[in-house]
Symmetry: C2
Subunit: 216 residues, 2 copies
């Protein structure tokens, strides 16, 4: 085992440390956040920090910095209170990564990367047509994390669109059937292979494998 | 595409909704949080909400509920200010899932699941011996999310242990080489296949693939 002390961390170059620390949390979600500036200019940015917060109400969060390339996303969300989250799949993961380039505020990442904006009545934020699992949210709260100046942006899910075949009998969505990809570190993209679904854990009871539909 | 409205969400059974909403954020990290109650009784609990917050300082967060089976974890962290995060790999993912059973406060998940507690000098929280990438943290802040009564627990990384062969030249850690697994929904476990590492995105520049060491 390699041991890295707190002192070692402080001596690393910031790029090396960023690569290493970004690897520690494990596999990350890959999502495009779609917003509009309220004046017909769309923005699209990849986030690897989208995290489930609760099912009832249906709340999802993501972490952003106020001063990063993602700031257009944040400004638009503050202005319109609306955004979409679009899972990245194997068919457009390179285009999704490309949205992290430092485009100007007046440049549209859809245009620049070749992804397709899709509109749904009464939702003033663009979806990504190429995504097979996507949803609209209403901003509920932005919580500042003063330790490092980041923000936790929390939204409530209002409208979900998902490829029909991936929705299973018990509500589980088969992300593998959608070719949803996952991220490690800052720049590595992966597909997945299911080991199994397993039963709800109970003390002194052996786990059993479940079918994809959640049946024993 | 299947469309699910906000109204549809409110009509679902809570189990169906939990399965569905837990699928929406995408792939999740799989980590065991190790704590001690300060009186030599260890606790170990699986979390799928561990999220990277920043590299400098090295901050990691996770979401917990005050009233769930994870409450022993929270109580212990509040008491000792210390905890460990241990990535789950393919060799013990079933034991890791089993830690989510509702054991009593005086029962030790290490004993109950057959995982091995490992101690490091001056760190009063147990590591999981079977994990190939693990680190100790000091509690920095617990931020309440009042929208649903959950908490964001934030710690600073102090000591990292990682299998030597997985640490690459530029600091990236190859989670695939460690057989780290990832979670979808509430109960599905997956291994991964790397598509590629890719270069830092710049406007009007084509992405290039990187080697596992981060070289073009």
């Amino acid at each position: 085992m390699k041991y890295i002390s707190h002192k070692d961390l402080t001596k690393m170059t910031s790029r090396y440390r960023a690569q290493m620390i970004n690897s520690l949390s494990g596999f990350k979600s890959a999502n495009l956040v779609g917003t509009c500036n309220g004046d017909q200019l769309n923005n699209l940015a990849i986030f690897s920090s989208v995290v489930h917060l609760g099912s009832s109400p249906a709340l999802v969060g993501f972490i952003t910095r106020p001063d990063s390339v993602e700031r257009h996303t944040l400004e638009n969300i503050k202005r319109t209170q609306r955004y979409t989250i679009n899972q990245v799949n194997e068919s457009f993961w390179r285009k999704a990564h490309q949205t992290s380039a430092r485009y100007e505020a007046n440049e549209c990442e859809f245009m620049k990367t070749g992804l397709t904006a899709e509109y749904v009545d009464k939702i003033n934020a663009p979806f990504v047509k190429e995504s097979s699992l996507k949803y609209a949210l209403i901003l509920k709260e932005i919580i500042p994390i003063e330790l490092n100046g980041t923000l936790l942006v929390i939204g409530e899910i209002t409208d979900i669109f998902c490829a029909e075949h991936a929705v299973k009998a018990d509500g589980y969505i088969d992300l593998e059937a959608l070719n949803t990809i996952t991220i490690t570190g800052l720049d590595s993209y992966h597909t997945s292979n299911r080991l199994s679904r397993v039963s709800y854990a109970k003390p002194d009871t052996l786990l059993s494998n479940l079918s994809i539909d959640g049946k024993t």
